[in-house]
């Protein structure tokens, strides 16, 4: 098991993470600016949000070095679920799109 080495990380990593958070926030705004709609929009926003939350929890609260297992156990399945939801949303949108186009909405 990994022990309490959490305190000894160089300060630099905090800055890097900070930068990363910045990038993620920008990406979130971009979703708005580029005007993504429907599911894509919400999945992206939620994914970025989760990533940010994960990073904050992980790094600033020293979770990474102590409880990486928990982060994995929560983050990975959630991400997997989000990806599946996003894929299926794309699929459903596509289906609905052809229905509107060719059936005038029926189906």
């Amino acid at each position: 098991m990994t022990t309490a080495e959490g305190q000894q990380h160089p300060l630099g990593i905090y800055f890097k993470i900070w930068g990363l958070l910045f990038v993620l926030s920008t990406l979130s705004y971009l979703v708005d600016v580029l005007d993504f709609q429907g599911y894509l929009r919400w999945s992206l926003i939620v994914i970025f949000m989760l990533l940010k939350a994960g990073l904050i929890v992980a790094v600033f609260m020293h979770m990474v070095w102590e409880r990486l297992a928990i982060v994995y156990a929560i983050l990975v399945p959630t991400l997997a679920l989000m990806v599946l939801l996003a894929l299926m949303a794309l699929e459903a949108d596509y289906t609905e799109f052809t229905r509107l186009l060719f059936f005038g909405g029926g189906g």
Partner: protein, 205 residues
């Protein structure tokens, strides 16, 4: 993570052999049943998640008509919550060695779970009486199906619950049934969370 470090070790090296020889067998200090239950709950989570994924696909299509949330649904969730609380009380009692309280907690928890199931049935019948039939509306079909899936899992839990109660009645002391009580309670909380999340999901979609 430990796992990744472990699978990148070279078991044939002498240095690694020295490390590996100290291995005591097994991977976790937790009891096997606990691990078994957690893995099982993982499988159940996948089951419900995939159903939600299917739901989200179906939801986007035009014939989807959101369903109302009868008050009974709210009520039921409160009952389920109370049931979980009772189970937790049972756990605490078991840890403190109070056998009588364990029994009360279990019985109340089980009764409330049964009440919840009855309530769910009633809810379905109520909605049917209002003219909501599953075949006509996919949203409703999902609601019924998910309730049934959740209910069946709770029923399965009641079997384990029944065995534990029997053991208490058979004269087992708190410390002897503590493990079973803890596992039951854990399962109950899990099902509560599942139903709560589903409920939220129904509400926002």
């Amino acid at each position: 993570m430990d796992f990744f470090r472990e699978i990148s070790s070279k078991p044939w090296l002498e240095s690694q052999v020295a490390i590996d020889d100290t291995h005591q067998g097994g991977a976790y200090t937790l009891p096997s049943v606990t691990i078994g239950l957690r893995i099982f709950l993982g499988v159940v989570t996948v089951l419900f998640s995939l159903t939600v994924v299917a739901y989200s696909d179906r939801m986007t299509l035009a014939d989807w008509r959101p369903v109302p949330e009868p008050t009974l649904m709210w009520l039921n969730i409160v009952v389920l919550f109370a049931s979980s609380v009772a189970m937790q009380w049972s756990v605490i009692s078991a840890r403190r060695g109070r056998t009588a309280n364990v029994e009360i907690g279990m019985l109340v928890g089980g009764a409330l779970a049964l009440a919840f199931l009855a309530g769910q049935l009633l809810m379905v019948r109520q909605m049917n009486a209002l003219g909501y039939f599953a075949p006509t509306n996919p949203a409703l079909a999902f609601l019924y199906m998910l309730s049934a899936m959740h209910g069946v899992h709770l029923l399965g839990g009641l079997v384990a619950w029944g065995r534990t109660v029997m053991r208490i009645w058979g004269g087992h002391e708190a410390h002897q049934v503590r493990m079973s009580v803890e596992l039951c309670a854990f399962y109950w909380h899990f099902l509560l969370v599942v139903w709560f999340l589903l409920f939220v999901w129904f509400s926002i979609t």
